[in-house]
Symmetry: C2
Subunit: 298 residues, 2 copies
């Protein structure tokens, strides 16, 4: 087959990628060609627009380094990351809803005892975070591992200012106690714009969109026999809840970061100044595959 | 609107990009979101597959530099470049069909007199190229500008070996004579693989495809009042005509690179050894917009 025109080229490319040995690669390649060609066919780009598209993708790739992942920002801001997350987490009742991981997660954050203050050298309004981790059937999960990370009150994460502060802060790992409870101190995070000095920032501007995310605390929670939960809890009073640039907000993930007067806090700490208090009770979904494997092994 | 799940996220993103002030940016953004989400929804990528996709795009961008454009290779090998070309050149009868520009075109190639040998320091089987340039109604076009470029008999262009050869070769600009004719000498080009040591090469391998293009000579032909023609002429005996990796072959663009015995060639040159002869008569499409402008000015 040769002589391709706009009515035959798509079938020709589909025929060509059928040679893929791996079934999944063949399936993804065929779907990519169909949808990509349908997009091109709908917009009928001029040669100059095609060149602009090539240039946009090239600049997006070249903006990436070990501290910046512009293609993840593109996926996030086009709603692709949330769509992939949603399809991978069709959540049963009782389990906490998921949202995107984001670019600021760090593996092997330092472990702290329950009740620790993880704000390190960062100043801000004190925030007490409390909660529980349970099964979807409300049975407490003791010893669950909780990774937590969030921004400072200017919207910057520790990894964005590591040269200045020299250590991880507003980031830690905890384990729930025998009743599935956890609690720790930090500072209240702020809303922040995603990095927008690159191609994705230009795209957002051209689309008439702001680059902001509402204030939130990230959680990753793992327990044996359960699917690891990746989510955020958002501040109920934030102005960007309805327009989160990465479409990550869900009503069930919004809580009051309640203003508390000076005095004895819920964990017994004596506070000389007002602070905020966030409580969230998490539910983990059973990992049925892992359970079956455990049952077979037993 | 918040609380996006896999049934609502697409409408949410579409709603968001509606804020684009520029109509075309809004139209392209909306189409991109619809088709991209449809692709993701069809393949339901795992989190690991999504990461592999991000990594592929990132590596493709980072493979690009001033001598290599990996995203154009991706567009070419997925048939997108030919689709865009086809939609931009719905050719009327009498006009030569178009094909992709490719990555080896150079602006301002050296102009040579008709009959010149442009092979420079490159050795190979001599090739006489002759032909005419006419309107779609077969009227000869005198003074049309012809840019020509092609590979050597190992499949490499001059720009890929400029450090060694030190000058342009197998590349030139000519002007047709008063009867719309042109002729020049060079060497016969060979089939060649597109650069395949990057992400696109890995993709082709995974899709069970070879990276080869059939032997061809590139032409770009411009004349006042006509749309500039970008095309190739392919060698009729090439084994890759049916499987050109970038889908660029059209039957009307195939010609014999005819074997000729030693003796007097068509332009009067005495050849002591056998050579090849390629003839192609090109037809240019009228540029009605330009003509209307000329008529208004007259």
């Amino acid at each position: 087959m040769r002589n391709f025109d706009e009515t035959t080229i798509t079938d020709a490319v589909l025929e060509r990628v059928k040679a893929a040995k791996n079934d999944r690669i063949r399936q993804v390649s065929e779907a990519l060609v169909r949808h990509l060609h349908a997009f091109i066919r709908e917009i009928e780009p001029t040669q100059a627009e095609w060149e602009a598209g090539i240039d946009f993708l090239t600049r997006t790739g070249q903006m990436c380094d070990d501290k910046r992942q512009e293609f993840i920002l593109l996926s996030d801001t086009l709603g692709v990351s949330m769509l992939v997350d949603a399809m991978n987490h069709r959540t049963p009742a009782g389990a906490t809803e998921t949202t995107v991981l984001g670019p600021f997660y760090v593996q092997r954050a330092p472990e702290h005892p329950l009740g620790a203050d993880i704000s390190g050298p960062i100043e801000g309004t004190p925030l007490l975070v409390t909660g529980t981790v349970s099964t979807a059937e409300c049975e407490p999960l003791a010893g669950a591992i909780i990774d937590v990370w969030h921004s400072d009150d200017d919207g910057y994460y520790d990894v964005q200012q590591l040269d200045e502060i020299g250590e991880f802060a507003m980031r830690a790992r905890f384990r729930t106690d025998e009743n599935g409870r956890f609690w720790f101190w930090s500072i209240r995070p702020a809303a922040y714009p995603i990095p927008h000095d690159g191609p994705v920032g230009k795209m957002l501007e051209a689309q008439g969109r702001h680059p902001w995310r509402p204030a939130h605390v990230h959680f990753m929670i793992a327990a044996p026999g359960h699917r690891t939960l990746v989510t955020h809890v958002f501040a109920a009073d934030d102005q960007y809840l309805d327009t989160d640039v990465v479409f990550g907000v869900k009503d069930s993930l919004i809580r009051e970061f309640a203003c508390m007067p000076a005095g004895t806090a819920a964990d017994g700490r004596e506070m000389r100044r007002p602070y905020h208090h966030l409580n969230y009770d998490f539910g983990l979904k059973a990992d049925t595959d892992a359970r079956r494997a455990e049952e077979r092994a037993a």
